[in-house]
Symmetry: C2
Subunit: 201 residues, 2 copies
């Protein structure tokens, strides 16, 4: 028998297991048994904690998104220079490679968000928060005279997040030429143009 755990601990485990299962089988392909296997439990045990699998999947997606976002926030919090912040933020929004679990998880939502309102809301809120993240960096840089923005910070930020998203898909789909480095360079090329800054640091 698998190690006994408290309700809270087990639920945390299950959310992690669901995250892995979603990545392996897709948000519409995950089965109770997949989650159970990832967690080292039987289906019954999963059901005991989550009588409705779809609720667990939503929680897993939610947790994954929060972690992704918080991690990015934490990284840039360590920096003060707007240039360094911008460059780091761009890099941290891209997958490390085709197998990057965080981005793989997020990508699973793309299609489902069109069919499932909850997923649509989740994804939209992540997008908006990432936009704000960029916007504050750009505004600060502009105020400090480091950036000379060619358009309003909001539009630029929306485009930056959009570029991250799209290259995330390209990388996980294993584009033969566009990898993490190339994608970063493409986004930086845009960022250089619209900030009027070389973004060397």
């Amino acid at each position: 028998m698998a190690q006994r755990k408290s309700r809270t601990d087990r639920r945390i485990d299950l959310i992690e297991a669901a995250r892995r299962a979603i990545i392996r089988f897709g948000i519409d392909g995950v089965q109770l048994s997949h989650v159970a296997e990832e967690a080292g439990l039987t289906s019954g045990a999963v059901l005991y904690h989550y009588p409705d699998l779809s609720e667990l999947l939503v929680e897993a997606q939610h947790a994954g998104m929060e972690r992704f976002y918080e991690q990015r926030l934490r990284q840039i919090a360590a920096l003060t220079d707007p240039v360094a912040k911008l460059v780091l933020t761009i890099r941290s929004g891209l997958p490390t490679g085709p197998l990057d679990p965080d981005v793989r998880l997020l990508n699973e939502l793309g299609g489902a968000a069109g069919r499932n309102r909850v997923y649509g809301v989740l994804l939209t809120s992540l997008y908006d928060r990432q936009v704000s993240m960029y916007q504050s960096i750009l505004d600060t840089g502009q105020a400090l005279g480091v950036f000379r923005l060619t358009a309003d910070a909001l539009s630029i930020s929306r485009n930056l997040v959009a570029l991250e998203d799209a290259y995330g898909y390209r990388i996980t789909a294993r584009h033969p030429i566009i990898g993490p480095e190339e994608a970063a360079e493409l986004i930086l090329s845009y960022a250089r143009t619209v900030t009027g800054n070389d973004l060397l640091h």
Copy 2:
């Protein structure tokens, strides 16, 4: 009994039916019975033409992508002015709204492309062709002196397609602010900056 059809005609019908079923239930959620219902047939009949459902799904995705791409090519072929071409191409890459079937179909592939090599190849090949499409417009505009590109045409084109893709996801996920018009304006804002052209036509 449903109307009898020739092998070729029925296969075309089934590909269309599969396309609709994928949009309704997701690429990992489609069932034989879904396709059968969309086609007005029984599961057995579907199986008679496609013993393997996954092959039908790939064909449906492939057909949808080709149609999407050909349609865009045809639209710009009618124009000669690079400015008009660029603006029209940007608009034609975006969904008409959250329910746009072409984009909904493509979006279904995003997540699956990370798990399924066939889908990855399909999606990558569409991306590359769309990039070429933009590249040729930009090159022509540059040659005519209409555009003054701030970066190489390839990079700009990659970013333009990336922006289309990403806003396609935002729109189908029903972002409360970013609809087809707003997305077009955001991409145009990028295009104006990198072409040095107001893109009024």
